[in-house]
Homo-oligomer: 328 residues x 2
C-alpha cells in the first residue's frame, strides 16, 4: 500500500491553519455587537471596521495646530533612534544581533511635532535613512492617553463598548502613538486583546497568528539601549539584564527565516483615517506607517486583558515550546 | 548557575493547563445568555445549569407509563451488548484490544422499556454482570428525536436558544438516550458543541479537556461488532474496515495509562433530573448512569457544529500529533 509519510507536527499545524483560515481579513461595515466581537475573540481572528471611528472628535479635528493648542506648554516622552528601530533586533558593531530599546527623553510637544513633520515633508521616503540624524516616535505604551495626554482623552471614546462588554473589563491601557514614516515597529506579540484606531495617516499591519511561532525565528537577544552622547549622537549601550526572547524574522525579508517561515501566510491590512482593527491576543504584528499631508501619523489603541483560562494560552505556549524544540 | 532542565512540551502543556484551570465545574444558577455562553465556548470550558430544564414537559411528565402511551405500537432501534459496552475498546478471545460496536435491532418500545426497568430493579448493581444475559440501550445518535421519536419532540425545547444565537446555527442533531445503569459510554470525544439535558435518573460524567490527548492512550483498534446468533447469544465479529483511533485509558483505572495519564485532572459532574451540561467540543467524556425508582435513565442532547476556523482546532490537532510522537 502506498502511504505518505506523516508530516512533522509543526508543518501539519501550519498547513492545517492555512487550509482552515484565509489571509483575507474580515471587514465589518460597522462596529460589531459584543456577541459578534466575542465570536472573533473565540476564533482568535482579526477584523477591520472601515470608518468605525470616523465620527470621533479626534478623527475630525486633530492636526498639528489643534494638537499644539491642546498640548500647549507640555512636554512628552519621546523614543529616539537612529533608524526608526525602537524595540527592535539590531546588528551591533560586532555584527551580533541584539535587542535595542530607544533613547527616551522629554521634549516639548510643539518641538517634537514640528520635527517629525518637517523630516517627513522634506524627505518622505523611508528607504534611505543615511542622511537622517535621528527618528522620533511618541510611543510610550503605558496608558499614556489617560496620563501624559489626558487633555486629549475626551476626544476619543473612553473605551470600546463592545470589547468592554464581551471581555467584562475596562481597557487595561489606552495608548496614543504619534510618528512619521521613518518608524517601523518590529514583528512582536502582546498578551492583550487589542483594538487599534487610526486617527491621522495610515498604518500598514503585517499579521501572523500565534500558531506561526516556528516561523518567526525567536531568539534570546542581549538587551541594549540607545544613549544620547554629549555631542547629541546616539550610540548603542549593551545592558546586563536578562536575555530578551524576540522574533528575528522580518516577513518582508531579511534572511533570518527558519525552515518553517515559508509556511507563514501573513494577513496584511492598511488602516486609514477612522478605521479600527481588532488585533487578537498573541498575534505577531509588524507595523509601518504613512503620514497625512502634514507629515504626521497618529493612532490610539485599547489594550484589554486576554483570557488566560481555558485551552488557548496553554496551547499557544505549547506551539512555542514544540517550535523551539523543532528548531534546535 | 543552577538551571532546571526544561520540561518536555507535553508535560508543560498539561501542567500549564492544570495551573490555569480548575477541576471544579462552573455552576450557573440559570441558563446563560448567548454572550455568557459564548465566553465558555471561547475558553472551551464546561458548565452545568442546575434545574435548567426542570420546567420542560419531558422533565415533568415522562415515565415508563407516559412514554409507553406516547410511543404505543412503535418500535425503536436498540443497541445490544453483553456488558453495556457499546462502542468500546474490548478484549477479544485472543486478549487483543478491539473496538466493538453493539448489535443493533428493532424492538417494540414497550418491550424495551420493560426489559431495562426489570433488569435494573431486579439487580441494580452494575459491578457484576455475569448473570446478565444482555444490556440494552436506546442510543442512536442520528438526530433520533426529530425522527424515530418525533412524537416526543414537542415535550422538549426544540433548540437551545442561547446556543443557537451564540453559534449562529440550529442544532445539527438532537438525540434521545434511554437505558439503565448497566450501560457505560467509554471515554471518547465528539466534534460538536454539546448541550446535555437530564430528564430522568442521573448521568455521571468524567471529563477531560482536549489538551489531555497524550493521557488517554489513543490506539488504532480493529473494528468489530456484536452479532446475535440463532440461539440469541451475542458474539464478537471482527470487520475488515479501517482501524478506529480510540482512547483506551479508563480514567477510573484499568491499566492502559500512558506516562502522561497521571497529569490528567478529570472534571467530574453528576447531572440530576432537569440539569443541563455544556460539554465543549473535543472534550473527552466517559459517561455512566443511575436510574430513577422506575429503573430508567433518560437524557436528551443537542449537538451544534463546532467552529473549525481560527486557532482552536489546528492547535488541538497539533497536541494530538505531538502526543502521538511523544508516545511512540
Amino acid at each position: 500500500m502506498d502511504r505518505t509519510p506523516p508530516l512533522d507536527p509543526v508543518t501539519e499545524l501550519l498547513t492545517t491553519y492555512n487550509e482552515l483560515n484565509s489571509t483575507h481579513i474580515d471587514t465589518l461595515p460597522s462596529p460589531p455587537s459584543a456577541l459578534e466581537f466575542l465570536r472573533f475573540v473565540a476564533r482568535n481572528r482579526p477584523f477591520v471596521v472601515r470608518g468605525g471611528a470616523s465620527d470621533w472628535e479626534a478623527t475630525k479635528t486633530w492636526g498639528i495646530e489643534s494638537l499644539k493648542a491642546l498640548l500647549e506648554g507640555q512636554s512628552i516622552q519621546v523614543a529616539v533612534t537612529p533608524h526608526g528601530n525602537a524595540d527592535s533586533p539590531t546588528t551591533n558593531e560586532k555584527r551580533e544581533l541584539i535587542f535595542v530599546k530607544p533613547w527616551e527623553e522629554q521634549q516639548s510637544f510643539s518641538e517634537f511635532i514640528d520635527f517629525i513633520s518637517a523630516q517627513e515633508l522634506r524627505s518622505p521616503s523611508s528607504s534611505s535613512s543615511s542622511s537622517v540624524p535621528e527618528v522620533r516616535y511618541a510611543q510610550t505604551q503605558n496608558d499614556n492617553l489617560r496620563n501624559e495626554y489626558l487633555t486629549l482623552f475626551s476626544h476619543v471614546d473612553k473605551d470600546i463598548p463592545w470589547a468592554r462588554i464581551a471581555l467584562q473589563a475596562p481597557p487595561e491601557a489606552i495608548n496614543l502613538w504619534i510618528g512619521n514614516s521613518r518608524s517601523v515597529t518590529a514583528l512582536h506579540k502582546d498578551n492583550y486583546e487589542n483594538v487599534y484606531v487610526q486617527i491621522i495617516g495610515e498604518k500598514h499591519f503585517c499579521l501572523l497568528p500565534p500558531v506561526a511561532y516556528a516561523c518567526v525565528a525567536e531568539r534570546e537577544l542581549r538587551p541594549a539601549s540607545y544613549v544620547r552622547k554629549d555631542d547629541g549622537c546616539l550610540e548603542i549601550k549593551e545592558e546586563a539584564g536578562d536575555l530578551v526572547p524576540f522574533p528575528t524574522w522580518d516577513p518582508d525579508g531579511d534572511g533570518q527565516e527558519t525552515k518553517y517561515s515559508d509556511l507563514a501566510q501573513p494577513v496584511r491590512v492598511t488602516l486609514r483615517k477612522g478605521d479600527m482593527l481588532y488585533l487578537p491576543a498573541l498575534w505577531y504584528h509588524k507595523v509601518s506607517q504613512s503620514t497625512n499631508e502634514e507629515g504626521m501619523c497618529c493612532a490610539v489603541n485599547y489594550w484589554y486583558d486576554m483570557e488566560w483560562g481555558g485551552s488557548f494560552y496553554p496551547l499557544c505556549n505549547f506551539a512555542r515550546s514544540v517550535g523551539i524544540a523543532a528548531l534546535t
